[in-house]
């Protein structure tokens, strides 16, 4: 299936781009992140992140669907 991944902050810098469309066979957001971390060497492990799918926070074991917009959320620091 195809998913659209957007990167923010430290992930954007580590990936060198703000988003990409990916063909994946990973069933969950966690699997997808760990695969991408293996490829791109993201410094943060998944347990430091949250995940947003189609603009809603979801648990890491949320099943991915074709066309999903996936955003991994590094530790926030607003305010």
């Amino acid at each position: 299936m195809t998913v659209h991944v957007a990167y923010f902050a430290i992930l954007r810098e580590e990936r060198g781009c703000s988003g990409e469309t990916i063909e994946t066979t990973e069933a969950t957001a966690l699997g997808l992140y760990n695969a991408l971390r293996g490829t791109h060497g993201f410094s943060l492990p998944a347990d430091r992140l949250k995940v947003v799918i189609n603009e809603e926070f979801q648990p890491w074991d949320h099943a991915l669907s074709d066309g999903d917009a996936v955003v991994f959320i590094p530790p926030v620091a607003g305010g």
């Binding site: 923010f8 955003v71 959320i73 590094p74 926030v76 607003g78 305010g79």
Partner: protein, 150 residues
């Protein structure tokens, strides 16, 4: 009303929205860029936001504040982009019949905003270094294993 602003925040505009004949108290919070953070001399910083989700989550926080506290109005504006020392990073304003609710709700909104909004801060230091706050990789020895949350 929650919003993200890529340009300097002008509280006067939003302040007017808090006025209500039954409101006797107004509490505001402003977050300013400090010249030090955890002992390091800061020269400037960048806020980056996932705007669509930050606005949704921000509106949720304001709705929670309205449910929990007897308030009349509540506004929160978060800045993004490159900020210099003294610049306003966030503005929260709450009006209420009485001051207790206004203080409590304002505090709730800024606390939750800092905890929950997908907004990130990169500090630039006097020594030329920079860092995404809270995003340092933890040494492997003390990192928790990656598992599915139970």
């Amino acid at each position: 009303m929650f919003s993200i602003s890529a340009v300097p925040i002008d509280p006067s505009i939003h302040h007017a929205a808090l006025r209500e004949p039954a409101a006797g108290a107004c509490v505001t919070f402003e977050g300013w860029v400090r010249n030090r953070n955890e002992g390091r001399a800061v020269v400037s910083l960048e806020y980056e936001g996932y705007d669509a989700v930050a606005v949704k989550e921000g509106e949720r926080i304001l709705a929670e504040a309205r449910e929990r506290f007897a308030i009349a109005g509540a506004v929160c504006i978060h800045r993004t982009g490159h900020l210099r020392l003294g610049d306003m990073a966030v503005w929260v304003g709450v009006s209420a019949g009485h001051r207790g609710a206004a203080f409590d709700a304002c505090r709730y909104i800024i606390d939750e905003t800092k905890l929950r909004l997908p907004i990130w801060k990169k500090e630039h230091y006097e020594d030329g270094d920079s860092e995404w706050i809270n995003c340092q990789a933890v040494p492997t020895a003390i990192a928790r294993p990656v598992t599915l949350p139970g």
